[in-house]
């Protein structure tokens, strides 16, 4: 399996992206932003299609559109976008735009499939460097901003009272999320960003009550899912994203079961 360049590239990029998704996912869950992350991935799809139409690198289009989206959400306030209606309007508009740009460009059907459902086959060395660079950037910002972000995500009242720049933290996090989504879309596709960004973090909450523990668990679950997906995909020829999603879903349900058993032991349920 590792005899092929593209598999080696996929493992390197996938592993780093998984660690990033686990880390940022815990904050996405705590800040109730999972549907905004999902919306960003659709905006990213429009961006990637636009890039193809304009003859640019899809990653440029992804970053451009998601970052603009993050600014828009930040400007209007996150609360507006927690409403179902606002999210569904933006989601469908973004998908529509994506389809428009694709029909205007001479992109082939395989490109549409790649950007919607992800692909690991086409990753060359240059892509790997790009992904590694962006991922390390996100992880570095998360590490430096960890204490502020943690406070604001898990106790907004306390963070505001302590004089933390909560508005700045909120916008900063949205921008970081936009970068993270743009990177992740390349592996699992726009439709399945949930699989790496929120499911591992949601599952991690069943296993630990410490914030760092959640980050660690989520990162491990995401990483295991990516490795399993890449290996299983390689040997069976079924889509990698399917295996990743299946693994993460399974880990979520195992977590749920683990929590239930714990509650029953304590006599709570």
């Amino acid at each position: 399996m590792f005899a092929y360049d593209f598999m080696r590239h996929a493992f390197i990029a996938g592993t780093l992206i998984a660690i990033m998704c686990g880390a940022i996912g815990v904050f996405i869950m705590a800040r109730n932003l999972s549907f905004i992350a999902h919306t960003f991935s659709h905006i990213g799809f429009a961006g990637a299609s636009f890039a193809v139409f304009a003859g640019l690198d899809p990653l440029i289009g992804l970053l451009l559109f998601t970052l603009l989206g993050a600014c828009g959400v930040g400007q209007l306030g996150v609360r507006v976008f927690r409403r179902d209606a606002a999210v569904s309007v933006i989601l469908s508009l973004a998908l529509g735009l994506g389809i428009l740009f694709l029909s205007l460009s001479d992109a082939q059907g395989s490109f549409t499939k790649t950007i919607l459902f992800g692909s690991v086959v086409g990753i060359d060395l240059q892509d790997v460097w790009q992904l590694v660079g962006l991922t390390l950037f996100v992880l570095l910002v998360l590490a430096v901003g960890y204490r502020w972000l943690k406070f604001d995500s898990f106790d907004q009242t306390g963070a505001e009272a302590a004089g933390l720049p909560v508005h700045l933290i909120s916008i900063g996090f949205l921008l970081l999320m936009a970068v993270a989504v743009s990177v992740t879309v390349q592996i699992v596709g726009a439709l399945l960003v949930f699989a790496l960004m929120t499911v591992p973090a949601a599952a991690a909450r069943f296993f630990t009550q410490s914030i760092f523990g959640m980050i660690l668990t989520a990162a491990l679950l995401a990483m295991a899912g990516v490795w399993f997906g890449l290996s299983a995909g390689y040997y069976t020829n079924a889509p990698v994203s399917f295996y990743i999603v299946a693994f993460e879903a399974l880990s979520y349900f195992v977590g749920l079961l683990y929590q239930r058993v714990g509650q029953m032991r304590r006599g709570e349920a």
Partner: protein, 252 residues
């Protein structure tokens, strides 16, 4: 350490409506200071002004200390997401923001241990915050405020949702914080018996008027209390509290 807390001619309003008008008072440093008054008097607004979350339209606020004063705040309740069951210890640690390091320094770890002992939260360390009782939660919130080493602690009806036993426990803890750690405490309360027991000075606030005085003097002035609380529909329970507070204050 604080030197002086003084408000001069504060006025605060929202949407053209004035909530606080020309309010001047001082808070004795290192003491317990209560803000009482009927609903809608602007008590919580005043705390938010002190916190710096609301900017007064006019007037001057002086909170002077050795360095930049650190203010701790414990509200009546906090929106805690039950879906995010983070441990009490982690919740207390959130208050530590003076470093950028992702991990705790040795000094921070010993500080955490000391604060958890002081607030009697060691037993709760690993429990998810969502599964704590009201009283336990408030102690954890208090610990989070304390770990920032505040000069001034603001409590906005922090005991209102607790049962009498937990109320008493919480107030005794707050009193110890004031006494042992030299923290100035400003607390809002509807429980006049509690105010009579713990406060040195009281600010009685109503729309458009206020009066400051010693707790014993002010709470024994029935006429004054009746005048300030007149618009409040005083139910039997509150009336009983009011009367018992007055009795207690008289024998103080």
């Amino acid at each position: 350490m604080l030197h002086r807390i003084q408000m001069n001619h504060l006025s605060v309003g929202f949407n053209g409506e004035e909530v606080l008008r020309d309010l001047s008072f001082y808070v004795p440093v290192g003491k317990m200071f209560a803000i009482i008054g009927p609903n809608g008097a602007g008590k919580s607004t005043l705390l938010k002004v002190l916190l710096g979350l609301i900017r007064p339209q006019a007037g001057e606020m002086v909170i002077e200390g050795d360095g930049k004063p650190v203010i701790g705040y414990v509200p009546q309740s906090r929106p805690i997401d039950e879906e995010t069951p983070i441990a009490a210890k982690d919740f207390i640690t959130l208050g530590l923001t003076s470093h950028l390091l992702p991990w705790l320094t040795r000094a921070e770890r010993s500080k955490l241990k000391e604060i958890m002992e002081f607030t009697d939260t060691e037993m709760l360390a690993k429990k998810p915050i969502g599964r704590l009782s009201g009283g336990e939660r408030q102690r954890v919130f208090l610990a989070q405020a304390l770990i920032r080493e505040p000069d001034l602690l603001l409590l906005d009806e922090s005991t209102a949702n607790l049962d009498p036993g937990a109320q008493e426990e919480m107030m005794r803890l707050v009193f110890r914080i004031c006494e042992k750690r030299g923290v100035t405490v400003i607390f809002i309360s509807h429980d006049l018996a509690q105010v009579a027991t713990y406060a040195d000075q009281v600010l009685l606030l109503a729309r458009g008027k206020y009066v400051q005085g010693g707790a014993a003097d002010l709470l024994s002035d029935q006429q004054l209390l009746a005048e300030y609380y007149q618009h409040e529909p005083v139910d039997a329970a509150q009336k009983a509290t009011l009367e018992s507070a007055q009795r207690q204050a008289m024998f103080h």
